[in-house]
């Protein structure tokens, strides 16, 4: 039984990481209607920045964390303003290709700047475990869950209680009307991309200590994040969080207890989730069903 709870907590931790990245995908999709295939690579790039600051320049962890978030925010804004915005008026395909180009360029850039060697990334949390009711729970897992939770709450507060948050929501659901009340819609969308980049960076920095840092760190994570976002509803922030946690716990338990799946098929299991959800209820658990029966 103790093993079960350990799996659950570990699942919640990895689920938090999926949730953070999924939230980034949802933010961008809600605001700009784009699926950002480059979200994972953006997160990888951010994580490398954090690594470089702590390892190469000897910074201590939390200042490096903060600076990385700021840099990621700026990067996200810049990418939206410079690369995405000019292509928004084109077809869906055009934007897909642009994000794919971004994916390739960032992946290559990471290798170019820091080489493809696998690196170790320090964790801000001690690797001990603590004993809760007879179950050994890793502090790292608790810390991960805590950081993501705090981020989600902060984001929620931003959207619910601030003027900027309200403007962002308005810009996402109704850009034409938002302009009429004076909202600078394009900048609100860029803000969305900036926040998404921050979420991705958090995801990467939390994942790197256990998964090790290499240019392909986020590739698999991106798939899990897609699965979580689709499961929860691609336009629902709550869905992204719930979907991520559910996926994390679910995959852990299935991997541990169902022999056929084992470790190898975790990724296809996540993909199967995507497919099943898309076929049964494309709008996900929390999404609104589009009435588009053709």
């Amino acid at each position: 039984m103790a093993d079960f709870w350990q799996q659950v907590v570990a699942g919640l931790a990895s689920g938090s990481i999926y949730a953070s990245l999924a939230l980034a995908l949802v933010l961008i999709h809600r605001a700009t209607g784009v699926i950002n295939f480059a979200q994972g690579e953006m997160a990888t790039f951010s994580t490398y920045i954090a690594w470089a600051l702590t390892t190469n320049h000897g910074w201590s962890y939390w200042p490096a964390f903060a600076v990385t978030l700021l840099a990621s925010f700026a990067g996200g804004v810049a990418i939206h303003q410079g690369i995405i915005r000019p292509n928004e008026k084109g077809s869906v395909l055009r934007v897909v290709i642009v994000t794919i180009g971004l994916l390739l360029a960032l992946n290559g850039l990471v290798t170019l700047i820091w080489s493809g060697e696998v690196r170790a990334m320090q964790s801000p949390f001690p690797t001990r475990t603590i004993d809760i009711a007879g179950v050994a729970i890793s502090i790292q897992d608790i810390g991960t869950i805590g950081v993501v939770l705090a981020t989600v709450v902060a984001l929620w507060a931003l959207f619910q209680y601030t003027k900027v948050g309200l403007a962002m929501r308005a810009a996402a659901v109704n850009p034409a009307e938002a302009r009429l009340v004076g909202v600078r819609v394009t900048w609100m969308l860029s803000l969305g991309w900036g926040l998404a980049a921050v979420l991705g960076a958090i995801s990467g920095m939390l994942a790197a200590p256990s998964l090790f840092l290499d240019p392909n760190l986020m590739a698999a994570l991106l798939i899990y994040a897609f699965a979580a976002a689709v499961l929860g509803g691609i336009d629902s922030p709550i869905g992204a969080v719930v979907g991520g946690l559910t996926l994390g716990v679910g995959l852990n338990l299935i991997g541990a207890y169902v022999d056929f799946v084992g470790a190898d098929l975790r990724l296809p299991a996540a993909l199967a989730v995507i497919l099943v959800v898309l076929l049964v209820k494309p709008s996900g658990i929390f999404g609104k069903s589009e009435v588009k029966r053709v």
Partner: protein
Amino acid sequence: MSALLALDGVEARYGPVQALRGISLEVPEGAVVAVLGANGAGKTTTLRAVSGTVRRSGRIDFGGKPLRGGPEAVARAGIAHVPEGRGTFTELTVTENLKLGAYTRRERSLRADIDRVSRWFPWLPDRADQPAGTLSGGEQQMLAVARALMARPRLLMLDEPSLGLAPMIVREIFRIVRELNEKEGLTVLVVEQDARIALQSASSAYVLEVGKVAVAGSSDELRENESVRRSYLGY
């Protein structure tokens, strides 16, 4: 009274289609002016040209200064545009809609402003936390006007407020518009298909036809001229 808003030779097009072929009109400060005409005459496009929602050429002066830029800049200049179809944020609550109305203003006195606006629409506070989409058509139209008022605009532009609403509600809306104009001196430019009700509230009107001004004058003049009424106003 000087003109708060003046258009001179304004042209606008949607792709290859020329919607406005040189519109000139004036909205005096403190007046209610109506823009009338059949479907496709260019009424909505005129408002869009002012608010910068559509690209246009020609001169537009607001408060004596040239008006430039897109909708965001025009809103900051003090023009509130209530578009066709109300433009309420259906997914956001009534209060959130009102807060957005005051987006361009810097003061933090939102509570006071919401109270002020609620005096004109007393039922608003009861629906404060409801999503705007759950309101009826008439209520949404009034919410849209209330939202526009939150900005303390110098000019209120209304696009077809009667669209899809029952006559009683339309009369109520125009009554409120008249009172706003009389009691607060709000300048209003209203586009309407229903010429009769528009002329009851407006002091002057412009009748558009295929992108140009066909007839203009005070409401009394237009109403008393039978041939104008028959050919242009439909009654």
